[in-house]
Protein backbone atom coordinates (compact mmCIF):
# COMPACT_ATOMS: atom_id res chain seq x y z
CA UNK A 1 0.00 0.00 0.00
CA UNK A 2 1.35 3.42 -0.89
CA UNK A 3 2.36 5.80 1.87
CA UNK A 4 -0.38 8.18 0.79
CA UNK A 5 -3.26 5.78 1.32
CA UNK A 6 -1.80 3.97 4.35
CA UNK A 7 -4.33 3.25 7.05
CA UNK A 8 -2.57 4.29 10.24
CA UNK A 9 -5.43 3.15 12.47
CA UNK A 10 -5.40 -0.42 11.19
CA UNK A 11 -3.85 -2.74 13.74
CA UNK A 12 -2.29 -6.04 12.83
CA UNK A 13 -4.53 -9.10 12.97
CA UNK A 14 -2.85 -12.24 14.26
CA UNK A 15 -3.18 -15.81 15.36
CA UNK A 16 -1.00 -18.10 17.44
CA UNK A 17 -0.96 -21.75 18.50
CA UNK A 18 0.94 -22.80 21.59
CA UNK A 19 3.76 -25.17 20.69
CA UNK A 20 4.10 -28.52 22.52
CA UNK A 21 0.36 -28.90 23.00
CA UNK A 22 -1.82 -31.49 21.29
CA UNK A 23 -5.58 -31.34 21.35
CA UNK A 24 -5.83 -35.11 20.86
CA UNK A 25 -4.66 -35.61 24.45
CA UNK A 26 -7.24 -33.24 25.94
CA UNK A 27 -10.34 -34.42 27.76
CA UNK A 28 -12.08 -31.10 27.40
CA UNK A 29 -11.79 -28.81 24.40
CA UNK A 30 -13.63 -25.56 25.05
CA UNK A 31 -13.70 -22.28 23.20
CA UNK A 32 -14.64 -18.67 23.76
CA UNK A 33 -15.52 -16.14 21.11
CA UNK A 34 -15.44 -12.46 22.07
CA UNK A 35 -17.13 -10.31 19.43
CA UNK A 36 -16.18 -6.78 20.39
CA UNK A 37 -17.27 -3.59 18.72
CA UNK A 38 -13.92 -3.17 16.97
CA UNK A 39 -12.01 -6.43 17.46
CA UNK A 40 -13.11 -10.07 17.53
CA UNK A 41 -11.16 -12.66 19.44
CA UNK A 42 -11.42 -16.46 19.55
CA UNK A 43 -9.58 -18.71 21.98
CA UNK A 44 -9.52 -22.50 22.33
CA UNK A 45 -8.49 -24.08 25.61
CA UNK A 46 -7.50 -27.66 26.37
CA UNK A 47 -8.53 -28.68 29.90
CA UNK A 48 -8.39 -25.04 30.93
CA UNK A 49 -5.02 -24.21 29.32
CA UNK A 50 -4.79 -21.79 26.41
CA UNK A 51 -4.04 -23.67 23.17
CA UNK A 52 -4.73 -21.48 20.19
CA UNK A 53 -6.15 -18.03 19.52
CA UNK A 54 -6.85 -15.40 16.89
CA UNK A 55 -7.63 -11.68 16.99
CA UNK A 56 -9.09 -9.79 14.06
CA UNK A 57 -11.25 -6.81 13.22
CA UNK A 58 -15.02 -7.15 13.58
CA UNK A 59 -16.69 -6.93 10.20
CA UNK A 60 -20.14 -5.67 9.30
CA UNK A 61 -21.82 -9.02 9.99
CA UNK A 62 -21.07 -10.38 13.47
CA UNK A 63 -22.07 -13.96 12.55
CA UNK A 64 -19.52 -14.06 9.73
CA UNK A 65 -16.81 -12.54 11.89
CA UNK A 66 -17.46 -15.10 14.63
CA UNK A 67 -17.09 -17.99 12.19
CA UNK A 68 -14.00 -16.40 10.58
CA UNK A 69 -12.25 -15.76 13.90
CA UNK A 70 -12.96 -19.28 15.11
CA UNK A 71 -11.81 -20.89 11.87
CA UNK A 72 -8.66 -18.81 11.85
CA UNK A 73 -7.86 -19.78 15.44
CA UNK A 74 -8.13 -23.52 14.71
CA UNK A 75 -6.43 -23.28 11.29
CA UNK A 76 -3.49 -25.68 10.88
CA UNK A 77 -4.27 -27.42 14.18
CA UNK A 78 -6.41 -30.13 12.56
CA UNK A 79 -9.13 -29.25 15.06
CA UNK A 80 -12.65 -29.01 13.66
CA UNK A 81 -15.56 -27.05 15.12
CA UNK A 82 -17.31 -30.39 15.87
CA UNK A 83 -14.37 -31.42 18.06
CA UNK A 84 -14.94 -28.51 20.42
CA UNK A 85 -17.13 -29.61 23.31
CA UNK A 86 -18.55 -26.28 24.37
CA UNK A 87 -18.44 -22.74 23.00
CA UNK A 88 -19.43 -19.61 24.92
CA UNK A 89 -19.99 -16.28 23.19
CA UNK A 90 -19.26 -12.92 24.77
CA UNK A 91 -18.85 -9.25 23.88
CA UNK A 92 -21.23 -6.83 22.18
CA UNK A 93 -22.02 -9.33 19.45
CA UNK A 94 -22.38 -12.32 21.76
CA UNK A 95 -25.92 -13.11 20.64
CA UNK A 96 -24.64 -13.35 17.08
CA UNK A 97 -22.23 -16.25 17.58
CA UNK A 98 -24.11 -18.99 15.69
CA UNK A 99 -22.22 -21.95 17.18
CA UNK A 100 -22.15 -20.80 20.82
CA UNK A 101 -24.25 -22.76 23.30
CA UNK A 102 -24.40 -20.02 25.89
CA UNK A 103 -23.64 -16.35 26.25
CA UNK A 104 -21.95 -14.68 29.22
CA UNK A 105 -21.41 -10.93 29.52
CA UNK A 106 -17.98 -9.61 28.63
CA UNK A 107 -17.70 -8.13 32.11
CA UNK A 108 -17.70 -11.53 33.79
CA UNK A 109 -15.43 -12.92 31.06
CA UNK A 110 -12.87 -10.15 31.42
CA UNK A 111 -12.71 -10.67 35.16
CA UNK A 112 -12.26 -14.42 34.71
CA UNK A 113 -9.78 -13.95 31.87
CA UNK A 114 -7.74 -11.42 33.86
CA UNK A 115 -7.70 -13.92 36.72
CA UNK A 116 -6.21 -16.51 34.32
CA UNK A 117 -3.69 -14.14 32.69
CA UNK A 118 -2.50 -12.26 35.77
CA UNK A 119 -3.19 -14.65 38.62
CA UNK A 120 -5.46 -14.65 41.69
CA UNK A 121 -4.13 -11.42 43.22
CA UNK A 122 -6.09 -9.29 40.72
CA UNK A 123 -8.79 -7.14 42.36
CA UNK A 124 -9.36 -4.31 39.88
CA UNK A 125 -9.67 -4.92 36.15
CA UNK A 126 -9.83 -2.06 33.73
CA UNK A 127 -11.01 -3.19 30.33
CA UNK A 128 -10.50 -0.58 27.64
CA UNK A 129 -12.11 -1.81 24.49
CA UNK A 130 -12.98 -0.40 21.12
CA UNK A 131 -16.05 1.56 22.11
CA UNK A 132 -16.36 1.42 25.85
CA UNK A 133 -14.39 1.27 29.00
CA UNK A 134 -15.26 -0.91 31.99
CA UNK A 135 -13.99 -0.81 35.52
CA UNK A 136 -14.46 -4.15 37.25
CA UNK A 137 -13.78 -5.22 40.84
CA UNK A 138 -13.38 -8.93 41.39
CA UNK A 139 -12.55 -11.41 44.15
CA UNK A 140 -9.77 -13.99 44.38
CA UNK A 141 -11.74 -16.44 42.23
CA UNK A 142 -12.23 -13.97 39.39
CA UNK A 143 -15.90 -13.43 40.28
CA UNK A 144 -17.27 -9.93 39.63
CA UNK A 145 -17.97 -7.92 42.80
CA UNK A 146 -18.92 -4.66 41.12
CA UNK A 147 -18.65 -3.15 37.70
CA UNK A 148 -19.18 0.11 35.95
CA UNK A 149 -19.42 0.60 32.25
CA UNK A 150 -19.19 3.89 30.44
CA UNK A 151 -20.77 3.52 27.07
CA UNK A 152 -22.11 6.96 26.42
CA UNK A 153 -19.27 8.08 24.22
CA UNK A 154 -16.20 6.62 22.53
CA UNK A 155 -13.87 9.16 24.18
CA UNK A 156 -11.36 7.29 26.28
CA UNK A 157 -11.55 4.15 24.15
CA UNK A 158 -9.65 2.34 21.43
CA UNK A 159 -11.72 3.82 18.64
CA UNK A 160 -10.74 7.29 19.84
CA UNK A 161 -7.09 6.27 19.52
CA UNK A 162 -7.68 4.94 16.01
CA UNK A 163 -9.16 8.28 14.98
CA UNK A 164 -6.19 10.07 16.49
CA UNK A 165 -3.63 7.75 14.86
CA UNK A 166 -5.13 8.63 11.51
CA UNK A 167 -5.03 12.33 12.29
CA UNK A 168 -1.35 12.52 13.18
CA UNK A 169 -0.41 9.81 10.65
CA UNK A 170 1.31 7.56 13.12
CA UNK A 171 0.74 3.78 13.13
CA UNK A 172 -1.55 2.86 16.03
CA UNK A 173 1.03 0.46 17.51
CA UNK A 174 3.55 3.31 17.90
CA UNK A 175 1.08 5.89 19.14
CA UNK A 176 1.72 5.29 22.84
CA UNK A 177 5.47 5.51 22.41
CA UNK A 178 5.34 8.82 20.51
CA UNK A 179 3.23 10.35 23.28
CA UNK A 180 5.88 9.43 25.85
CA UNK A 181 8.69 11.19 24.02
CA UNK A 182 7.75 14.65 25.35
CA UNK A 183 9.52 15.98 28.44
CA UNK A 184 6.71 17.86 30.20
CA UNK A 185 3.08 16.80 30.11
CA UNK A 186 0.98 19.40 28.25
CA UNK A 187 -2.57 20.37 29.25
CA UNK A 188 -4.98 17.60 28.22
CA UNK A 189 -7.46 18.17 25.40
CA UNK A 190 -11.22 17.87 25.95
CA UNK A 191 -12.19 14.46 27.28
CA UNK A 192 -15.94 14.43 26.88
CA UNK A 193 -16.12 13.57 23.19
CA UNK A 194 -13.92 12.02 20.48
CA UNK A 195 -14.98 14.62 17.92
CA UNK A 196 -14.23 17.54 20.26
CA UNK A 197 -10.92 15.98 21.27
CA UNK A 198 -9.98 15.54 17.62
CA UNK A 199 -11.05 19.10 16.77
CA UNK A 200 -8.95 20.45 19.63
CA UNK A 201 -5.99 18.35 18.51
CA UNK A 202 -6.29 19.77 15.00
CA UNK A 203 -6.29 23.28 16.48
CA UNK A 204 -3.15 22.50 18.49
CA UNK A 205 -1.40 21.14 15.41
CA UNK A 206 -2.31 24.35 13.57
CA UNK A 207 -0.76 26.34 16.40
CA UNK A 208 2.47 24.55 15.63
CA UNK A 209 2.59 21.99 18.42
CA UNK A 210 4.70 18.98 17.44
CA UNK A 211 2.58 15.87 16.96
CA UNK A 212 4.25 14.13 19.92
CA UNK A 213 3.05 16.89 22.22
CA UNK A 214 -0.49 16.77 20.84
CA UNK A 215 -0.38 13.01 21.24
CA UNK A 216 0.60 13.44 24.90
CA UNK A 217 -2.31 15.85 25.43
CA UNK A 218 -4.71 13.40 23.81
CA UNK A 219 -3.48 10.42 25.83
CA UNK A 220 -3.65 12.43 29.03
CA UNK A 221 -7.28 13.36 28.32
CA UNK A 222 -8.14 9.70 27.89
CA UNK A 223 -6.34 8.74 31.07
CA UNK A 224 -8.14 11.42 33.09
CA UNK A 225 -11.46 10.13 31.87
CA UNK A 226 -10.57 6.53 32.69
CA UNK A 227 -9.36 7.48 36.18
CA UNK A 228 -12.71 9.22 36.81
CA UNK A 229 -14.42 5.91 36.10
CA UNK A 230 -12.01 3.87 38.16
CA UNK A 231 -12.35 6.00 41.26
CA UNK A 232 -16.10 5.41 41.13
CA UNK A 233 -15.75 1.65 41.71
CA UNK A 234 -12.64 2.15 43.85
CA UNK A 235 -9.18 0.89 43.04
CA UNK A 236 -7.68 -1.92 45.02
CA UNK A 237 -4.45 -3.62 44.06
CA UNK A 238 -3.51 -5.66 42.17
CA UNK A 239 -4.64 -3.56 39.30
CA UNK A 240 -4.57 -4.74 35.68
CA UNK A 241 -5.52 -3.40 32.27
CA UNK A 242 -7.13 -5.64 29.63
CA UNK A 243 -8.52 -5.11 26.14
CA UNK A 244 -6.78 -3.76 23.08
CA UNK A 245 -5.74 -0.45 24.66
CA UNK A 246 -3.74 -2.36 27.31
CA UNK A 247 -1.07 -2.56 24.61
CA UNK A 248 -0.73 1.22 24.40
CA UNK A 249 2.20 2.15 26.64
CA UNK A 250 1.20 5.83 26.56
CA UNK A 251 -2.06 5.01 28.34
CA UNK A 252 -0.73 2.35 30.72
CA UNK A 253 2.29 4.32 31.93
CA UNK A 254 0.20 7.46 32.46
CA UNK A 255 -2.33 5.43 34.45
CA UNK A 256 0.54 4.15 36.54
CA UNK A 257 1.94 7.67 37.05
CA UNK A 258 -1.39 9.30 37.92
CA UNK A 259 -2.77 6.49 40.07
CA UNK A 260 0.60 5.81 41.71
CA UNK A 261 -0.16 2.15 41.23
CA UNK A 262 1.72 -0.14 38.89
CA UNK A 263 -0.42 -2.44 36.77
CA UNK A 264 0.77 -6.06 36.65
CA UNK A 265 2.73 -7.21 33.60
CA UNK A 266 0.67 -9.51 31.38
CA UNK A 267 1.97 -13.01 30.66
CA UNK A 268 -0.32 -13.31 27.65
CA UNK A 269 -1.79 -10.83 25.19
CA UNK A 270 -4.30 -8.82 27.30
CA UNK A 271 -6.63 -8.36 24.30
CA UNK A 272 -7.57 -12.02 24.79
CA UNK A 273 -8.93 -11.68 28.34
CA UNK A 274 -12.57 -11.79 27.20
CA UNK A 275 -12.10 -14.79 24.92
CA UNK A 276 -10.07 -16.69 27.53
CA UNK A 277 -12.67 -15.93 30.19
CA UNK A 278 -15.48 -17.21 28.04
CA UNK A 279 -13.52 -20.38 27.19
CA UNK A 280 -13.11 -20.94 30.95
CA UNK A 281 -16.84 -20.44 31.47
CA UNK A 282 -17.35 -22.94 28.63
CA UNK A 283 -15.23 -25.44 30.54
CA UNK A 284 -17.27 -24.93 33.71
CA UNK A 285 -20.51 -25.30 31.75
CA UNK A 286 -19.28 -28.44 30.00
CA UNK A 287 -18.27 -29.97 33.33
CA UNK A 288 -21.75 -29.23 34.60
CA UNK A 289 -23.29 -30.74 31.47
CA UNK A 290 -21.43 -34.03 31.73
CA UNK A 291 -22.05 -34.19 35.47
CA UNK A 292 -18.58 -33.43 36.82
CA UNK A 293 -19.97 -30.59 38.90
Amino acid sequence: MSEKSKEFWRWREYRHTMPNMDWHDAKMVTAGVDIGSVGSKAAVMLDGELYTYAAMRTGGVSEETAVKAMNWAIEETGLKTEDIHYVVGTGYGRVNVPFAKRTITEIACHARGAHYIYGPTVRTVLDIGGQDCKAIRCDEKGKVMSFLMNDKCAAGTGRGLEVFADLIRTPIEELGKTSLSVQDEPQPVSNTCVIFAKAESVALLRQGWPKEKVSAAYHLAMVNRIIDLLTKVGIEKDFVVTGGVAKNTGIVSRLERNLKLKPLEPKLDPILAGAIGSALFAKALYEKEIGLR
Partner: protein, 94 residues
Protein backbone atom coordinates in the same frame (compact mmCIF):
# COMPACT_ATOMS: atom_id res chain seq x y z
CA UNK B 1 -22.20 -7.99 42.66
CA UNK B 2 -22.91 -4.28 42.46
CA UNK B 3 -23.93 -3.35 38.94
CA UNK B 4 -23.60 0.32 38.03
CA UNK B 5 -25.90 1.41 35.23
CA UNK B 6 -25.64 4.91 33.90
CA UNK B 7 -22.91 7.37 33.10
CA UNK B 8 -20.86 10.28 34.25
CA UNK B 9 -20.80 13.49 32.30
CA UNK B 10 -19.88 17.13 32.79
CA UNK B 11 -22.92 17.74 35.01
CA UNK B 12 -22.43 14.89 37.45
CA UNK B 13 -22.63 11.17 38.22
CA UNK B 14 -25.82 9.38 37.21
CA UNK B 15 -25.81 5.76 38.22
CA UNK B 16 -28.45 3.35 39.43
CA UNK B 17 -26.68 0.70 41.46
CA UNK B 18 -28.27 -2.73 41.72
CA UNK B 19 -26.89 -5.18 44.24
CA UNK B 20 -27.47 -8.44 42.40
CA UNK B 21 -26.67 -10.52 45.48
CA UNK B 22 -29.69 -8.96 47.19
CA UNK B 23 -31.97 -8.86 44.13
CA UNK B 24 -34.36 -11.81 44.14
CA UNK B 25 -35.87 -11.14 40.73
CA UNK B 26 -39.31 -10.32 42.17
CA UNK B 27 -40.14 -7.86 39.39
CA UNK B 28 -41.60 -5.23 41.73
CA UNK B 29 -39.23 -2.50 40.53
CA UNK B 30 -40.18 -3.20 36.92
CA UNK B 31 -43.86 -2.60 37.70
CA UNK B 32 -43.27 0.25 40.14
CA UNK B 33 -41.19 2.50 37.87
CA UNK B 34 -43.45 4.98 36.08
CA UNK B 35 -40.93 5.32 33.27
CA UNK B 36 -40.13 1.66 32.67
CA UNK B 37 -36.48 2.04 33.52
CA UNK B 38 -36.07 -1.50 34.83
CA UNK B 39 -36.32 -4.92 33.27
CA UNK B 40 -35.65 -8.47 34.37
CA UNK B 41 -32.80 -10.08 32.53
CA UNK B 42 -31.15 -13.47 32.61
CA UNK B 43 -28.09 -13.31 34.81
CA UNK B 44 -25.29 -13.70 32.28
CA UNK B 45 -22.56 -13.20 34.83
CA UNK B 46 -22.29 -16.74 36.01
CA UNK B 47 -23.12 -20.23 34.87
CA UNK B 48 -26.13 -20.56 37.18
CA UNK B 49 -28.07 -17.84 35.37
CA UNK B 50 -31.19 -16.85 37.34
CA UNK B 51 -33.18 -13.68 36.82
CA UNK B 52 -32.05 -10.26 37.96
CA UNK B 53 -33.17 -6.67 37.63
CA UNK B 54 -31.27 -4.30 35.37
CA UNK B 55 -31.70 -0.89 33.82
CA UNK B 56 -32.82 -1.20 30.21
CA UNK B 57 -30.32 -0.44 27.47
CA UNK B 58 -32.61 2.36 26.29
CA UNK B 59 -32.48 4.24 29.60
CA UNK B 60 -28.80 3.72 30.50
CA UNK B 61 -27.64 6.62 28.38
CA UNK B 62 -30.31 9.09 29.50
CA UNK B 63 -30.93 8.01 33.07
CA UNK B 64 -30.61 11.57 34.39
CA UNK B 65 -33.68 12.50 32.38
CA UNK B 66 -35.57 9.22 32.80
CA UNK B 67 -35.39 9.53 36.59
CA UNK B 68 -35.84 13.30 36.58
CA UNK B 69 -39.61 13.35 37.24
CA UNK B 70 -39.15 11.31 40.46
CA UNK B 71 -36.45 13.68 41.70
CA UNK B 72 -37.99 17.12 42.21
CA UNK B 73 -35.63 19.96 43.12
CA UNK B 74 -37.73 20.69 46.19
CA UNK B 75 -40.31 18.80 48.20
CA UNK B 76 -40.45 15.13 48.99
CA UNK B 77 -38.62 12.63 46.88
CA UNK B 78 -40.46 9.40 46.28
CA UNK B 79 -38.31 6.98 44.40
CA UNK B 80 -40.83 4.29 43.51
CA UNK B 81 -38.17 1.76 42.62
CA UNK B 82 -36.37 2.11 45.95
CA UNK B 83 -39.67 1.94 47.88
CA UNK B 84 -40.84 -1.11 45.93
CA UNK B 85 -37.67 -3.13 46.41
CA UNK B 86 -38.10 -5.25 49.54
CA UNK B 87 -34.59 -6.61 49.25
CA UNK B 88 -33.23 -3.04 49.30
CA UNK B 89 -31.08 -3.79 46.29
CA UNK B 90 -31.53 -0.47 44.48
CA UNK B 91 -29.63 2.75 45.16
CA UNK B 92 -29.17 5.94 43.18
CA UNK B 93 -25.86 7.76 43.04
CA UNK B 94 -27.39 11.25 42.73
Amino acid sequence: MKAYYGYKDGSGDYFIIIDTDKCNGCRKCVDACPHRVFELIKDEFDIEGGLMAAVTEEHRKKIKYSCGPCKPMSGERKLQCVLACEAKAITHSW
